[in-house]
């Protein structure tokens, strides 16, 4: 369902983040992307929701070439992809509930229905009792769980995460890894770029290594 065909990505300045990458990921897989910093993991993830566009090649998501997608069509692609970022990108001017509400508001889900789904998502990540809390009052682990709740509340078919366990202690990181597993169990395709391979090892269907923008053994 996600296919990379001869994908290359060069950033301005000529640095090649990815080159001639061929890759196929099936629906329902749980992929761990590993590699050193600068190996191209983040770039690979960003190509899927068209946050970055490839310099060459095609990125096919659900049968659509994302690389050639019109600007106006990108929002609708992204609504089907949950994203978890290393720096979470939570909005600090609103409480946990409203942060998770954002994707549903964007998608135009009716308010009452949306409220129910927000609580369900918060429940899944164990934050139901903190829905009124402002993000700043949450611990690092809680913030990351909140970010995950926001990523899954619109029930995406793909969930991508860039270093979701960075800055977290081992116990909390293991909880996060188990959470991704739980979403994968209900059919969500999961891609995680991480340095904590061992945490995800019990759950992953495949590990993809990257080295200097190419597949590594």
């Amino acid at each position: 369902m996600i296919r990379f065909e001869k994908v290359g990505k060069r950033y301005p300045g000529g640095i090649a983040a990815l080159s001639a990458l061929d890759l196929a990921i099936e629906t329902g897989e749980m992929i761990v992307l590993s590699g050193h910093s600068g190996a191209g993991k983040s770039t690979l993830l960003k190509l899927i929701p068209a946050v970055e566009r490839p310099s060459e090649g095609a990125v096919i998501v659900n049968g659509q070439n994302v690389a050639a997608l019109k600007r106006a069509a990108i929002p609708f692609l992204r609504r089907n992809i949950g994203m978890v970022f290393q720096d979470q990108k939570l909005l600090f001017d609103r409480n946990a509930f409203d942060n998770v509400m954002l994707p549903l508001a964007i998608a135009g889900v009716a308010t009452r229905d949306a409220g129910r789904r927000v609580r369900a998502a918060l429940d899944k990540v164990g934050l139901l009792d903190r829905e009124r809390a402002m993000p700043v009052a949450l611990s690092g682990g809680e913030q990351q769980r909140l970010a995950i709740a926001r990523a899954v509340v619109a029930r995406p078919s793909i969930l991508i995460a860039d270093e979701p366990t960075a800055h977290l202690d081992d116990g909390t990181a293991a909880d996060i890894a188990a959470m991704f597993h739980a979403f994968n169990q209900v059919g969500v395709t999961v891609l995680v770029a991480t340095h904590h391979e061992a945490l995800f090892a019990p759950y992953m269907t495949r590990r993809i290594g990257l080295s200097r923008g190419r597949l590594a053994a």
């Binding site: 600007r71 001017d93 135009g108 009716a110």
Partner: protein, 299 residues
């Protein structure tokens, strides 16, 4: 359709929240816009009042017909009967020269001067109230009456009304120009406010885009913000004009009564009030639109 309405409700609520989150800025912004709008709105209020006054005074134009000094009573009576038979006149009043002399003799200060005159300097005169008050009809009657035998001079008392009308038209143009200039200022102020808003909301814009927000979704709250701020400015202007009207009402009424006119200042007419609010909101929206084109990044 329901989803669309929901998104508009959410966008307007969001704009309200953003305005409410910085009450001082919002208040100052509304004051700046309000004062700018109050000038043309106040001018419009004054104009509307003047026009009402002018219409009331001009409602009974008169034609004064002066006979020659040496016209005989018979000649005067002949002209009188012709005036009375004329289909265009509604009322004809003869002011005999003796009566004019007597009235002026009685008047303070002028009496002695009149007394010293060797003979009556005043002619017999008619005050004619025309039935048709259109300028063309008045003009036609003036030239017709001037052709009657022994008629020396015909005076159209509506000439000054014409001058007043021209003056009012000029004033209206000036108010219009003022409105355009200050409207541009309003757009510029909103342009800048929205620029700052975009900077403040940069994070929310970025996150919303990553979560699949369309351009329309991102822009909507800014449009509402601009329009609401414009509307607030319109409200300030309306209140300022209302306050000025109420303050001026008593002194203007007193001044008018000194001239024997029963007149009181009216507040801005409803149609002008609606126009003020609509224009203020629209200009705010336009400022937001320009600012979004210029400042909202496409990524």
């Amino acid at each position: 359709m329901k989803g669309w309405l929901l998104q508009h409700r959410q966008a307007s609520a969001q704009a309200f929240r953003r305005l409410a989150s910085t009450p001082l800025n919002t208040l100052l912004g509304a004051l700046v816009l309000g004062i700018a709008l109050a000038l043309p709105a106040g001018g419009e209020m004054l104009l509307a009042n003047f026009q009402r006054l002018a219409q009331r005074i001009a409602a009974t134009p008169q034609i004064s017909v002066f006979m020659a000094l040496d016209a005989t009573k018979k000649e005067v009576a002949e002209v009188e009967s012709r005036l009375r038979k004329h289909p265009g006149t509604r009322e004809v009043k003869l002011v005999p020269r003796e009566e004019t002399l007597r009235r002026l003799k009685e008047s303070e200060g002028l009496g002695e001067v009149i007394e010293s005159l060797p003979r009556n300097p005043f002619p017999d005169a008619f005050v004619v109230v025309p039935g048709d008050e259109s300028p063309a009809a008045l003009e036609a009657m003036r030239s017709e009456f001037a052709g009657y035998p022994r008629v020396e001079h015909v005076q159209l008392d509506s000439a000054w009304v014409k001058k007043l009308d021209a003056l009012l038209r000029l004033a209206r143009l000036a108010v219009g120009l003022l409105a355009v200039v200050l409207g541009v200022a309003l757009v510029a102020v909103t342009f800048n406010t929205i620029r700052l808003q975009i900077l403040t909301q940069a994070e929310e814009v970025e996150v919303s885009r990553l979560l699949g927000a369309t351009d329309a979704y991102i822009r909507r709250p800014f449009y509402y913000f601009g329009a609401l701020q414009g509307l607030a400015g319109g409200a300030v202007a309306w209140l300022a004009v209302l306050g000025a009207t109420l303050l001026l009402r008593l002194p203007v009424g007193e001044l008018a009564s000194l001239y024997g006119i029963d007149f009181s200042l009216h507040i801005l007419p409803l149609s002008d009030s609606i126009l003020l609010f609509a224009l203020a909101a629209w200009l705010g929206w336009a400022g937001a639109w320009l600012s979004l084109i210029r400042h909202l990044s496409e990524n």
